[in-house]
Symmetry: C2
DNA sequence: TAAAAAATCAGGGTAAACACTTATTTTTTC
DNA sequence: GAAAAAATAAGTGTTTACCCTGATTTTTTA
């Protein structure tokens, strides 16, 4: 019985590379390839795979939300995040949302196959290069973190953070979203509080780490 | 006569994807694949291709320098930068160093093929999505007093850019480097000109892309 | 050793961000 | 349907960034 693997990624090159790489293995079958979140959700109902290799950054849908939806709706699918984002925040969030694996796009073939086989057995798999740091962070997080965990941003906050990181001023954001300048500034202040920074520079860096831009 | 294409990229997936994609075309032949800069330089002397698809970010060598060396040593090779970096600074620098094409890794097959054919005919090719903005920037750059066309950042500029991206204010930078506030502001303005941005947000993003922080 | 590039500094302004506070309405969750 | 969370908005400042102009001195390069 082959392991059925679906792939969702908006980069044609990565899609091809994965397809080609996996098709060389007799115990793996590529059961579907999708270039965006909508296609993916539609495809999963028709043809449910064992493993889903999921790009976090896709044009139409956010990878975190997508993971939450799929993990809930198709609990039998083992989700492996496949991404360029080497971010502690994202690793934690994705695992929280129900992903079982997290590997980087510059991983080699061995890592990819090991991840697929591990997750197929319902065990978590984390890119070796990320393991130690993530462990340290999670241990630290239990020691230090404040009650609220400090990290979760609301939908509106993420939206505004993204616009900030795309070089819109507060006034421009207010106009764009039909909000008062004051509201946007309040959100910005709350973002700075939550992300522990004192200016736009820190916000931009956080936005990049979270994959909201670039 | 087939177009001979070499590929240099440290991402195994991208490498496979490209190889697979190009091998479907009768008029193209993949003449070499390289996973790092040293391999590439060694390989080119033995087997010189018509086109080189070159990743800017490789573990051992900087893509800019590499481009300069290859363009000088193998002028018959048409270099196409293939990268995730959507940065005005990098585009200009790469073209300056001798690259003829610049496309993004999330480009589709059509763009890739068009780039290869265009560059094979010794004509420059720029990713369509980047064209307009780059043009605008290049025109703007000629209006302004940036001496040589303003490609590379000076040592001092890089130093200050790094401090900006590390969340220092201009006043703090001035104190740290024993400069007048005005000097720091002048450098910041020049940075914005050179990098084609209107505020700190763009500077931070450029700094990250250039690897000055994180 | 000239010329070019880089680094330094400033006046005088406008616009935007930052800081601290309070408060109402809407939406979500239990 | 009550409680909690999120989203909305504002008053009143201070600080910093941004934009235009101009310049001199130091270092590098041809």
């Amino acid at each position: 019985m082959k392991i059925r693997v679906a792939i969702a990624d908006d980069h044609p090159l990565i899609l091809r590379g994965l397809q080609n790489l996996l098709s060389n293995h007799m115990d793996i079958e590529v059961s579907g390839i999708y270039e965006n979140g909508s296609e993916l959700l539609a495809g999963l109902t028709v043809n449910t795979p064992d493993i889903l290799l999921l790009d976090i950054q896709m044009p139409d849908k956010n990878g975190l939300e997508l993971t939450g939806i799929i993990a809930h709706q198709f609990p039998e699918v083992g989700i492996i995040a496949l991404t360029n984002i080497d971010s502690q925040f994202y690793i934690k969030s994705m695992l929280n949302q129900g992903a079982l694996g997290y590997i980087l796009k510059n991983s080699n073939e061995d890592i990819l196959l090991e991840a697929i086989k591990t997750v197929y057995n319902r065990e978590p798999y984390l890119e070796p290069a990320l393991r130690e740091r993530t462990w340290r962070n999670m241990i630290k997080a239990q020691h230090v973190t404040s009650p609220d965990g400090g990290q979760s941003l609301t939908r509106r906050e993420k939206e505004i953070l993204q616009l900030i990181a795309r070089e819109f001023t507060s006034q421009e954001i207010a106009d764009k979203l039909f909000l008062s300048l004051r509201t946007v500034e309040t959100h910005r202040m709350n973002l700075m509080l939550k992300l522990g920074t004192k200016n736009m520079v820190g916000l931009v860096k956080a936005a990049i780490q979270m994959g909201l831009v670039e």
